[in-house]
């Protein structure tokens, strides 16, 4: 592997970091049974807010905290309107996606093109010197390291800890979780806000690192939140699979850029968006096993073909938490 490719792949890992934060935050939220549809707006607003705070205070840390706070506040609005006021999560989330986007452009106007701090690269001493692995994984910035940790932490929390099992429970069957002692609605508030805060870190992850600065509508951030939502589904609400999705997405975008010179007929703008159609295709693959007619169609096939197909579909399939979007009312 030549050093340019290696550098490019290392760039893929870094570029995927913000998406990872958004996807993991959304995964945690949806595991609790709440859909946070505002991701696209949240990322933009926290990117702008984090950048503005970092510019004004000169502190990167405060910038990231501001991003997390913005994400948490937006999520709080969703939790309040859907859990307390029992309004549609989809409606409120969608409106917030638009409002926060416009708000970021409006409030970010004075910061357009301002120069601000940027997260420095922080190679890890010994690990960074390893051949191949070193330049690939361990000569990144702190945020990228944090994104590695987050994937495994979220995965371990959801699947290996007691509160994580209960988190799965409240999204799967809140009535059963309640019978086992969970205060379902309080936990849903909690996880929605925590998930929102993690999504909020994705913003400054762009504006203070990956795409440093704030350039308003041409920041190129609009749309990423919607992709993050798709990757959450693709990831089957599992942080590891979601991370795979996020890296795949970043890889495809990078490949688009790399392949460009050899494909003169295709403009770069197209290659940049090439992953999106693929995303639909994967969504279809992930979901089609849930459709009723598939089961009926499968039933008519000969025995061994049917079993093979059914197994294939089941391995691809990702069933959402059964109570996703369903309000819980105690008897």
């Amino acid at each position: 592997m030549d050093s340019a490719t290696l550098l490019g792949l290392a760039g893929v890992l870094a570029a995927a970091a913000p998406v990872l934060f958004a996807v993991i935050g959304e995964t945690i939220t949806e595991r609790a049974g709440v859909i946070n549809l505002s991701v696209n707006g949240t990322i933009l607003l926290s990117a702008m807010g984090g950048f503005a705070v970092a510019v004004n205070t000169g502190s990167l840390l405060l910038g990231f905290l501001a991003g997390a706070l913005i994400g948490a506040l937006v999520a709080l609005v969703i939790a309040f309107s859907s859990i307390t006021l029992q309004q549609s999560q989809v409606a409120v989330g969608f409106v917030l996606a638009l409002v926060c986007r416009d708000l970021s452009y409006f409030l970010g106007n004075p910061y357009m093109g301002a120069s601000g701090p940027r997260l420095p690269s922080a190679p890890i001493p010994l690990l960074g010197d390893l051949p191949l692995i070193g330049p690939l994984f361990f000569r990144q910035d702190l945020l990228t390291y944090l994104s590695y940790v987050l994937i495994f932490a979220a995965w371990a929390y959801i699947f290996k800890t007691r509160p994580g099992l209960m988190l799965q429970g409240i999204g799967e069957r809140p009535a059963a979780a309640f019978a086992r002692g969970a205060d379902v609605n309080r936990l849903r508030y909690l996880y929605t806000v925590i998930g929102g805060a993690i999504i909020g870190i994705a913003g400054p992850a762009y504006s203070l690192s990956v795409k440093a600065g704030w350039k308003g509508t041409i920041s190129g951030l609009d749309g990423i939140g919607w992709i993050a939502l798709s990757i959450t589904i693709f990831g089957g609400w599992n942080p590891l699979r979601a991370a795979f999705g996020a890296y795949l997405f970043a890889l495809l975008q990078w490949l688009g850029l790399v392949l460009q010179p050899s494909l003169p007929g295709i403009p770069s703008q197209v290659l940049q968006v090439a992953p999106f159609p693929l995303m639909i295709l994967t969504l279809l693959l992930v979901n089609i096993g849930n459709a009723e007619w598939v089961e009926r169609a499968l039933a008519r096939l000969p025995e061994n073909t049917r079993h093979a197909l059914a197994r294939l579909l089941r391995s691809l399939r990702a069933a959402p938490p059964a109570a996703l979007g369903v309000p819980f009312e105690q008897e």
């Binding site: 007691r162 099992l165 799967e172 069957r173 979780a177 019978a179 086992r180 002692g181």
Partner: protein, 489 residues
């Protein structure tokens, strides 16, 4: 653990679901709780297991008065409940289900938990694989999992709500053996059922509930006739029976075989004359609902044939059934039958024949007004359907039926209605019979079944009886049959 309930009352809005219940259950006893649907068994058990707070009364555990604030609080105090539809997490693994809600350090030791699961299940004769997904288990196995989990949590009082519905005979044997063993260890078992046979072989003591009251208790040997009397009230005054049978066969089932996740109904053959009323009896979940939905074309049969007026409808889509004058009225009126948010007029327009493309609202209101008067519905054409009372919703559902119909399928046509509404609804249904329609209806009200049916089919765990002549069937006989007695004959 000794359990004592003192003067328990529970009042929901207009319903006195539990009315002054006193019951003592000593440790080591398997207590049966009998009663028909709506007798107040579930409410009482939900009070004991912390889902409801009693409106009045006291619960004593080991002679100490306690307050049980929530289901989790109940488990902490040693009372656990196994629900009819086990409250578990189907998409998750057995071991995860076992662990959720169990207190302990942040990261549970799965190996240890699996070992403990294994230890308890070995003693009880169960064999669940910890890594299996719960949605691949049978209902019986899911019950076993819940029992194991509750015991692991240290439960000393185990409540089981209708545990023998939908499980195999072998699993029932295992369950009963386990329960006997637990009782021997000094655990208190409360076994809620409406199956006389199960109660008879298992319980040390039986209490019968009816209309929210404790009617009485009985020790073995159980007098089944007496228990049936206690459950269903002995004197039933049957009104005048009217039969509208016409002689020619209109609806025909030929070895109809059905299947769903829980039940298998082997071939049912039936020939019904125009105007005849067939009552489908059986405890909830015995297969009658599946059978009715199959007759409506909503469930595809695994085998056999359905025909109406010599048209074979087997495997045809629901729409074809509608075209052949078959109507299905579900029990969940607001969930399945009607569209909340729409008015009566809109419902009548929707259910009626579309006349052209545009709606004539004036005409629609007039029709609605007529039907409202005709069916004595308390409401106006502009009333949203959810604003009507249950009885009026049921009348509205009947008023939506097309003319003429060949087959009307009803689930609990008079459940939750007052007597006046019930009589009214049956008058309207009998009018349809007089026009030649066949009626199949599900009911858990024995009186209604005997009074309005010409013939009865009794369902028990997917088994279907041969048709009984309603006129020559007694309440006692029917009650026992529903409870699973006398099937061998």
């Amino acid at each position: 653990m000794n359990v004592e309930l003192r003067d328990i009352h529970k009042i929901f809005a207009a319903v006195h679901a539990n009315n002054g219940i006193n019951l003592k259950i000593p440790a080591g006893v398997i207590q049966g709780i009998l009663g028909e649907n709506g007798a107040g068994k579930s409410t009482l058990m939900k009070i004991l297991s912390g889902f409801y707070q009693p409106s009045q009364g006291q619960i004593l555990l080991d002679d100490k008065p306690v307050i049980i604030r929530s289901p989790a609080d109940a488990t902490r105090q040693g009372v656990g409940m196994l629900h009819q539809d086990p409250l578990d997490f189907p998409s998750m693994r057995v071991i995860d289900n076992f662990l959720i809600g169990h207190p302990g350090e942040l990261i549970p030791d799965r190996g240890q938990a699996a070992a403990q699961l294994e230890a308890i299940q070995q003693k009880l004769g169960f064999s669940l694989r910890p890594e299996a997904h719960v949605d691949t288990l049978t209902v019986g196995e899911r019950q076993q999992l819940e029992i194991l989990r509750l015991l692991w949590l240290g439960v000393r009082v185990l409540i089981l709500d209708e545990p023998t519905t939908g499980i195999s005979a072998l699993q029932k044997e295992k369950l009963f053996a386990a329960l006997r063993l637990l009782a021997q260890e000094g655990k208190t078992i409360i076994f809620v059922s409406h199956k006389l046979e199960d109660v008879e072989v298992l319980c040390h003591k039986v209490a019968v509930l009816r209309q929210g009251r404790l009617i009485g208790e009985m020790l073995p040997p159980f007098n089944i006739t007496r228990l049936v009397e206690m459950m269903f009230e002995k004197v039933i005054t049957l009104g005048n029976r009217r039969s509208c049978c016409r002689g020619e066969i209109s609806f025909r089932l030929n070895a109809l075989e059905l299947e769903d996740a829980r039940l298998h109904i082997p071939g049912v053959s039936l020939e019904v004359q125009g105007g005849e009323v067939i009552g489908l009896a059986g405890m909830e979940g015995s297969g009658q609902a599946l059978f009715l939905r199959a007759c409506a074309g909503l469930v595809r049969a695994v085998g056999g044939h359905i025909s109406i007026n010599e048209h074979d409808l087997t495997g045809k889509p629901y729409h074809t059934y509608l075209e052949h004058g078959i109507a299905y009225l579900p029990a969940a009126r607001l969930e399945e039958g009607l569209a909340p948010g729409m008015t009566l007029t809109e419902h009548f327009l929707l259910a009626g024949e579309a006349r052209g493309f545009n709606i004539d609202w004036e005409q629609g209101r007039k029709v609605a007004q007529e039907r409202i008067a005709d069916f004595n519905i308390r409401g106006t054409p502009a009333s949203p359907i959810e604003a009507l009372s249950g009885g009026n919703q049921q009348r509205a559902l009947l008023a939506l039926l097309k003319h003429p119909l060949n087959l009307i399928l009803l689930e609990h046509p008079t459940r939750g209605l007052d007597i006046e509404s019930s009589i009214y609804i049956w008058d309207k249904l009998k009018e349809r019979c007089a026009e030649g329609a066949v009626i199949l209806f599900i009911s858990s009200d024995l009186e209604e079944l005997l009074q309005y049916s010409d013939r009865l089919l009794v369902f028990f765990s997917g088994e279907v009886s041969s048709p009984l002549d309603a006129e020559r069937t007694t309440v006692e006989h029917l009650g026992q049959f529903i409870g699973g007695k006398g099937w061998a004959a």
